[in-house]
Amino acid sequence: MNKNKKLYFEIDGKACYAEDGQSVIDAAKANGVFIPSLCHVEGVKAAGSCRVCNVKINGRNMTACTTPVTDGMVVENDIPELNELRQAIIEVLFVSGNHFCPSCEKSGNCELQALAYRYQMLVPRFPYEFPIKGVDASSEHIFHDRNRCIMCKRCIRTVTKDGKNVFAFNGRGGEHLHVVMDEKLASQLTEEEAQEAMEICPVGAILKKEQGYLVPIGERKFDKLPIGSDIENK
């Protein structure tokens, strides 16, 4: 904890310090506090799309990724009310996609799955939607499974080739809205860039082709410790 930082704020009663302009989620991380998120990418402009980072700021529900810290701010994060809300959001994301963990390549490395474990999701309280949004296997290095997409916009905001976005939203509203991949641009991605695209996706919607299950069970990202432990144990 760096006490030379300018702004003082509290998360669940813990004294924290932040740079001017720093978002609550980034400042929390710097102070060893985990606020869950599925859309936030550090250093990239916040989208506020997944709503999992919902916290109470001075008593009001706000997304921690889009709200900058102000001096004296009081943040509630790890409280039953919010954790229940987060569990519900995670359940919504599960039922609105086709998240078949048992055979998913991202299982063990999937942030949605890891959050479901952390927030002790059992059977979703909402009915499954079984969306049919299709898959796009046309590019050379990426297999794009739109049925698993949680529309966090991470890929739209970060995966580019020669300054152009490889992924974009298509359609308007409800079942019509989904993320599409530009086949030509995607095919120009190098294998390394395809791997990075797969890793930026919090779920198994973007897969690098011709490889699967390379990391043995037990050695995957969230096999040993729950998501957020790296921040909390720093």
Binding site: P102, S103, K209, G212, P216
Partner: protein, 483 residues
Amino acid sequence: MSQKITIEPVTRVEGHGKVTIHLDDNNNVSESRFHIVEFRGFERFVQGRPYWEAPVLVQRLCGICPVSHHLAAAKAIDVLVGAGTGEGLTPTGEKMRRLMHYGQIFQSHALHFFHLVSPDLLFGIDADPAIRNVIGVALKHKDLAVQGVMMRKFGQEIIRATAGKKIHGTGAIPGGINKHLSPEDKEAFLNGPDPMNITKMLAWSQGVLEFFKDYYQKNQSFIDGFASFPSNHLSLVRKDGAMDLYHGVLRAVDSEGNKILDDVDYQDYEQYIEEEVRSWSYMKFPYLKSLGKEKGWYRVGPLARLNTCDFIPSPLAQAEFEQYKAVTNGKPNNHCLHYHYARLIELLHSAEMIEELLNDPDLMEGELVIKGTKVNKGIGLLEAPRGTLFHHYEINDDDQLTKANLIVSTTNNNEPMNQSVNYVAHSWMDGKAEITEPMMNAVEVAIRAYDPCLSCATHALGQMPLEISLFDVNNQLIDQKRT
């Protein structure tokens, strides 16, 4: 008045099935059928998925033998990615997979004999069903029950160490394996505390074989005479004719031992084997094309494997194999209940193979994966606990699966199981005025010999009980008993 008997569900088998037996006016069996009433649909819903998912997705067919599906699919995908047809992998890749496979055979055979079959042998076919079950075994024969549980656990631990999980692991990947054997696991399997070490497992494997041989000596006429009928037999064998449960060439022999197929590359299986669909079952009926539907059916599994192979490449099992072959004077063994005998010899063989592999340094180091030039069709076969398992996949240029055809062990044994049911129905029920529980259990004993996995065969969830229904000449249900 003619009747129809239905046994539903069939118990102490994996999956869900039923038997129907029609009796004529003189109470003689006029027709019998073993129906598989589950539907899974894996072959259809893997279509469109990327090929590298197949070994992990398709193994969800089964919770008993997922390793077999995992490895058969991986072998097929190896072909797709140009990594060879079972022989092209790195030594580490192939041997780790073999260790996983023999762990699977060991646990599955132990489960079948101790949990599913031993109640019939220990208490008798006609014993009270209330004690003729695995709980009865645990209460009356505690040592045997403990052995069964611990042997299964040992096999499951081998699977965990190689596949990552005891059930539904991810170890086999296109072109190889994703891990080495850890020094801790190796040490535990070789020298772990009693009884969880390979030395004890070998001793127990020999012990259970002695138990069966002793039972056989005392009940030879029953064992030899029960549902015994000639058939063809099919399995993979090593190129030199040795038993090899992981990889080999196809060999089929007739009931006299004449070779029908030999040295057949399984990539060409479609030239030799076809599947027939019958309206009353979700399970297909495979047969050898050259012999046609009527005569081309064959048995697979332990009985068939010991009939097709020339020898077993491990000393203890080979010695037992020689005794076993002497029972039929070297000719193929067509006795249904000898499946158990053959299965226990394979149990011992698996333990020996596990010991040999555990001492192999290739498991601890070396390249894990190789890659080659991709093709659009791959076929993978192996000898699963219940018999020859076929996985056939085709992909498009975008790496998506366009076709999957699975011929699982139990499907291969479909006609033999029907023949066995028919045989037992005739010999136990012909002319009898009343159908008793032991008669129904005799039908199940015949089915159980094959260790069928009906869930796999229909590519079901839940238990696998047997129901027998009795119908009169007008097809009206007269009596129905569930076991």
